[in-house]
């Protein structure tokens, strides 16, 4: 099990069960289901398809599971959730999870 960068196996735990808070930056012009979201300091494409009943707009906070926004939350609760991840020792797992989103995305560039 080497340090293959393309194949970084999480240290254990359950990344799929993590709920990671993110702030919607912009919704894609050509695809209303796809948003650029700031997640723990990284920008990633996140799928909004499960929030069709209550579509988030830029500035809204969402909770993300496996790359899909699952619920809208308040900013206070989003910050709380980040602290929870930290307290549970899961913030590194969350960061790794987020880095993994978007196989062919080039969203690491800073915001315009």
């Amino acid at each position: 099990m080497g340090a293959d960068e393309e194949f970084e196996v999480p240290p254990g735990g359950c990344s799929m069960c993590l709920a990671i808070p993110g702030k919607v930056i912009e919704v894609a012009a050509d695809n209303p289901n796809s948003a650029l979201v700031d997640v723990v300091g990284m920008r990633r494409r996140v799928d909004l398809g499960l929030l069709l009943d209550d579509m988030p707009v830029p500035g809204d906070w969402v909770l993300i599971h496996v790359g899909f926004a699952m619920s809208k939350i308040s900013e206070v609760d989003a910050l709380d959730q980040m602290r929870t991840l930290e307290m549970l020792g899961e913030s590194e797992a969350a960061a790794q999870e987020v880095r993994g989103y978007g196989l062919d995305e080039v969203d690491d560039k800073p915001a315009p």
Binding site: F7, V9, G12, R83
Partner: protein
């Protein structure tokens, strides 16, 4: 209370702990089950057991999807991926989970095309960038991850993506709770309900637990304070002789759940007549298979599946631990044959399994204390 310093608001923690001591009848023993593996992890990490009076016992439930997945399902999926034209795509959580002939990671080392994806939609991208190959996504999880698989199936169908399929292992939490309550050796006073599963299913599906089984259930967040507040809410109900569904995690969980997610699941999945759970055995209508209308994207319909069954070693007492009849350390294999590095039973497989959580926090702590106390 050695971990209290880590808590965000020790004063609130102490207040909740006082309230618990006030509400708990000293002549009564309380057995409360936390259903979700995330809660189990938090309880051990924060040493909450040390905060609770001894007559409040927390029983660790079946809510870790990796733990309850039978080894035969991993074997079945890996047997499909023996075909060199197939790419096996799964969450990183699955990579070290043992199959009969090794984990997906070990199969990769032997030449299988195994890829980690962080989202099922990344498996779709993988299929698009590898048009000469077939990408099989190994789907796993409770209602927390099932909706994302559902949307992914819908996208694959609408885009006419023919080199992609899903090997579906999604399970549903309610039948597992029912199986635990139906078990004759099970005695529980109430439930700490799962947080993120409830974001999807809402609180209504738990109402039968209150109405028919007369047990209170409180949907709960993941901070230590959330857990203690939920225990306060459960004890308050028990003291009054009530049994209701309450939502402590209102900041995230809407009572009605996520309707768009439920709709996507209803369109793409059907209930399996029965499904095997490690530690609990076969439970009827407890898992999802892919709807006939999506048969083309169902790996089980598209490929030959051997249907491998691997029974857990008889000595492993996962079922008893899951039902709270035994504590993790009371299992004959715990910490000897069965460790997180070399899991024999289901509950040692993922760090959210109750045996692994107990091993990582309590057992290692106790071992350290023993070695410190040993004469030089």
């Amino acid at each position: 209370m050695k971990y209290v310093d880590e808590f965000r608001d020790p004063e609130l923690i102490n207040k909740a702990a006082d309230e618990i001591r006030r509400l708990a009848d000293p002549n009564r023993h309380y057995r409360l089950m936390e259903v979700c593996g995330g809660h189990t992890h938090a309880i051990y990490r924060f040493g909450l057991k040390d905060v609770l009076p001894p007559n409040i016992e927390l029983i660790h439930g079946p809510g870790c999807p990796v733990c309850v997945l039978p080894m035969g399902r991993i074997d079945d999926a890996l047997s499909i991926a023996e075909n060199p034209d197939v790419i096996f795509a799964a969450f990183g959580d699955m990579m070290r989970v043992p199959g009969t002939n090794g984990s997906p990671l070990e199969h990769k080392a032997r030449g299988m095309d195994v890829r980690i994806v962080y989202s099922p939609s990344d498996a779709i991208k993988l299929a698009k960038t590898n048009p000469q190959k077939h990408v099989m996504f190994f789907a796993i999880g409770f209602e927390t991850t099932a909706p994302s698989t559902a949307l992914t199936l819908q996208r694959a169908k609408s885009e006419g993506l023919h080199n992609f399929s899903v090997f579906c292992n999604h399970v549903t939490i309610i039948p597992a709770i029912r199986a635990i309550l139906d078990s004759p050796d099970m005695r529980l006073d109430g439930f700490i309900g799962p947080g993120h599963v409830s974001t999807v299913i809402g609180c209504r599906p738990y109402e039968w637990i209150a109405q028919n089984e007369h047990k209170p259930i409180v949907v709960c967040g993941f901070e230590p304070l959330d857990l203690l507040q939920s225990i306060v809410m459960l004890l308050t109900q028990l003291q009054k002789g009530e049994a209701r569904v309450e939502n402590q995690y209102k900041r995230v969980v809407p009572w009605e759940g996520n309707r768009a997610a439920l709709k996507a699941m209803a369109e793409t999945f059907q209930l399996r007549p029965y499904f095997e759970w490690r530690g609990l055995g076969f439970i009827s209508q407890s898992a999802l298979r892919i709807h006939e209308q999506y048969a083309e994207w169902d790996a089980e319909q598209r490929f030959h599946v051997p249907g491998i069954r691997v029974t857990d070693p008889k000595a492993a007492q996962c079922g008893e631990v899951l039902k709270g009849v035994l504590k993790p350390a009371q299992c004959k294999l715990f910490g000897r044959e069965c460790t997180p590095e070399n899991p024999v039973g289901a509950l040692m497989v993922s760090s959210e399994g109750s045996c692994a959580a107990y091993f990582n926090y309590e057992h290692r702590k106790n071992a350290l204390v023993t070695s410190l106390n040993a004469p030089a």
